[in-house]
Symmetry: none
Subunit: 230 residues, 2 copies
Amino acid sequence: MGKGGQPKVLLVEDEPAQRTVLAYNLEAEGFAVTQADNGEDAMLLVDEEEPDIIILDWMMPKVSGIEVCRRLKMRPETRGIPIIMLSARAEEVDRIRGLETGADDYVVKPYSVLELMARARAQLRRVRPSTAGVVLEHEDIRLDPESHRVYRADKVLKLGPTEFKLLVTLMERPGRVFSREQLLDLVWGRDIYVDTRTVDVHVGRLRKSLMSHGGADPVRTVRGAGYSLG
Amino acid sequence: MGKGGQPKVLLVEDEPAQRTVLAYNLEAEGFAVTQADNGEDAMLLVDEEEPDIIILDWMMPKVSGIEVCRRLKMRPETRGIPIIMLSARAEEVDRIRGLETGADDYVVKPYSVLELMARARAQLRRVRPSTAGVVLEHEDIRLDPESHRVYRADKVLKLGPTEFKLLVTLMERPGRVFSREQLLDLVWGRDIYVDTRTVDVHVGRLRKSLMSHGGADPVRTVRGAGYSLG
DNA sequence: TTGGACTGTTACAGAACCGTCGCATAGGCT
DNA sequence: AGCCTATGCGACGGTTCTGTAACAGTCCAA
């Protein structure tokens, strides 16, 4: 993982317009983006940048996306990096070939940028627990996803599962205001129907837990908008 | 989003004169414009160009605007693109039909170009509320939409939700004079009935907040016209 | 099965905010 | 100057939003 919890993504796409759009959105979502417009550069950049995730266009001059994918999945030191393939063709055949080659997910053009973001995040979440040493920090709060433990001022806090996920989400982007709807999406899951007020209650519980050993309230309420950390 | 943060708009209008005027104005306002004069081309261009927003005429030969709208809102990958419908008819029936079809906003001809611009911007804001790193600045006022924070001379200001939205609107186009009606539309949202004097009160409150730590009044009153920033 | 931990919903109180009014004042025109 | 209109501003009642406690249902382990 990149420093400061900002995940590094390697974006490989030969079409400049599409690449720019994607890079912009990825950066807006808090990714650190490295770009390449061909497979050869991509291979070099993987070693150089050690990205957390790779978004890879299928069709490219010289070394194709599928070839890059195959090579990366053969090398032990790069095998663990999640790869999302982009393809203009919708045929099922390609999808299967893509996944067989080792891609972890597959998005067909024209894709929704939002969908791609969601998939990227999902892949990161999937890989993250195994990534040792990833510790989210914000002021005196420390969160270790691996051991599922949260400390505040070096004291262990006891959080329920929902409180934990909620805190993870907030800590991934401190300062950013999340609406109740966004939090429901990110913490509870997309297609779960629960009242938005539920978010308030859990924020309250999280606050209580975070302040159980003293210390100021680190969660900020933005009236009419949502919540943020700090 | 287009390069350099330039939002891409797809303009679909069969009447050449109107289309040209609109395209001109949109470009002058910083949009990257793609044009189509019928629904079929529009559908193709959506996939090709991946516009950030679509301005769509209601009446068109072959595939009508409402049909284009319906189709786009059915496809998951295009559903997220905001659509503003243009119509020559003012009947309420049409308005309702338009919104039912999934259009995000609706402007009746003859429309004010400024109003249309403002609405387009408002839609973009709605879809892309996060635009990271994009911090609005004007003189010593700094506004970060992501963290929902406002600073003046590096001091944090406390604004209510309406004051905040009002300031965002003004800061997006510093120097431009907004009428009270425009501000009501953009800040409060259309189809909200409140007295235009309410705008005055909130401008007053905004001024107070902005000057709470000293500094000159950055809001300009244009007698008989409205307000502007700077 | 029992008990405990956790969750989602609801109700209620307090706080923050909103829209309107009335009046004072400033601006522009003759 | 004198008049008229537009604007600034304080006050007030009403509304909305948020924090919290209480409660019932679920799940799981012992």
